[in-house]
């Protein structure tokens, strides 16, 4: 069993959630939490640890397999750790961006965005179906390049642990230098927003630099109140519905679609439809920009 930072972090997660609850109550942020929403978030989190235990061995086996393909081996040198962490964070960016752009991947990742609340418990809405959604493929290049599978998994775990604390409204802004380099509550609030201007922005895991480098960065505008969740809000606290609704949606769409469009409902962007009856993020953004232009004229 490789070192798993997430298991060690769970008690800290619990303590921080309790602290945020107390703080929200004290400062009168009465709508920061909702008890059923929190229950759903935590239940999804707990379920995801079971899913991870069930598929973790397979992911590790894939990494070991990729590691053996080329005669490259970096080993456990100390300098390999920071390098592995930064490159793994780049792999996370690629994974996360595709998780929002390909419906098959989105069906798994949508869990994480399903809450209309945004607090530390939201962070624990982690996917159950990541393995089916092929999330591991984004980490294979690191193993191929010679990084130790155990090191890659530990870095991936650390990355996930880092992302916990940014799911909060209690922290407004971090110091300027920190906001410039690191993913922060402010940047990640934008990522969880359904406001048209913020859709498909800030895919970063730990370092926000990837979004700035690849043109997907948007700063938080304090004038525009953030609405959290997904474009078609679920309106449900039902655990199984939240976890599996998009997979069922894919099945339904593929079943109903004409033959030549069936595959498109799997690999195209969420919201794509062959008859333009729905909207992708780009379409929503375009509609918003058009309406804003009208208002300014």
């Amino acid at each position: 069993m490789p070192f798993d930072p997430v298991a060690y972090a769970i008690p800290v997660f619990v303590a921080l959630i309790v602290a945020e609850l107390m703080w929200s109550r004290k400062t009168g942020a009465g709508h920061a939490y909702e008890w059923r929403d929190t229950g759903t978030s935590l239940a999804i989190g707990l379920g995801s640890t079971i899913a991870a235990a069930a598929t973790g061995g397979l992911t590790a086996a894939m990494l070991v397999w990729a590691h053996g393909l080329l005669p490259l081996s970096i080993g456990w040198a100390w300098w390999a750790w920071p390098l592995c962490f930064v490159l793994d964070d780049l792999a996370y960016y690629a994974f996360h961006r595709s998780a929002h752009r390909v419906r098959w991947f989105w069906a798994s990742h949508v869990n994480h965005h399903s809450s209309q609340n945004y607090n530390l418990s939201t962070a624990l809405r982690q996917s159950w179906t990541g393995f089916i959604a092929l999330s591991f493929i984004f980490r294979l290049p690191l193993a191929l390049a010679g990084f130790e599978p155990g090191m890659i998994l530990a870095c991936a775990g650390l990355n996930l642990v880092y992302q916990f604390w940014i799911h909060t409204e209690t922290v407004k802004r971090m110091p300027r230098w920190f906001e410039a380099v690191m993913n922060t509550p402010s940047h990640h609030r934008v990522h969880h927003a359904v406001n048209a201007r913020y859709l498909d922005r800030n895919f970063a895991g730990t370092f926000i630099i990837w979004d700035k480098l690849f043109g997907t960065f948007a700063p938080e505008d304090d004038e525009d109140r953030i609405r959290y969740g997904i474009v078609s809000q679920l309106g449900s606290f039902n655990l199984l519905h939240v976890v599996f609704h998009e997979w069922l949606g894919i099945v339904r769409d593929v079943w109903r679609a004409p033959w030549r469009h069936k595959l498109s409902y799997i690999w195209r962007a969420p919201g794509w439809s062959h008859d333009d009856s729905r909207e992708t993020s780009e379409m929503i953004r375009a509609r918003w920009e058009a309406s804003r232009g009208k208002r300014h004229r």
Binding site: E34, W35, R36, T38, A43, R227, G235, R278
Partner: protein, 125 residues
């Protein structure tokens, strides 16, 4: 194997305790709309877009109903501390009784509009 079970049961216990704490701390108040402007902003988030031409707020701010220029009707249904926009199917029956609107298919929703409720009734109801 034992360690895995201890971790799972410990986490399960933590989940139950946190949910209870959330409840006891009072994080169970219903969603509330403070203004028509806020309701409008929420209607505009409807998938495919929805621009209210006329709008009515529930008297307690517990929900809202709106009609757009094409005559489509949408409602804001409370969900926890937030709202979900629901676009009604064309011809959905809306009935008013003692100032309270009832919408076929969304039985959980009661819009208390007072005198203006009648105006939202569908013909024949």
């Amino acid at each position: 194997m034992d360690g895995v079970w201890v971790q799972f049961l410990g986490s399960l216990l933590a989940v139950v305790l946190i949910v209870l704490l959330t409840w006891f701390l009072g994080f169970r108040t219903a969603a509330k709309l403070d203004s028509e402007a806020e309701a409008t902003a929420q209607f505009q988030l409807a998938p495919g877009g929805f621009e209210p031409a006329s709008l009515a707020l529930d008297r307690q701010g517990a929900s809202a109903i709106a009609r757009d220029a094409q005559g489509r009707i949408a409602v804001l249904v409370p969900h926890g501390t937030h709202f979900v926009v629901r676009l009604l199917n064309e011809g959905s029956a809306i009935t008013a009784r003692d100032g309270v609107l009832q919408i076929a298919g969304i039985e959980s929703l009661q819009l208390d509009l007072g005198e203006s409720a009648e105006r939202w009734q569908t013909p024949g109801n």
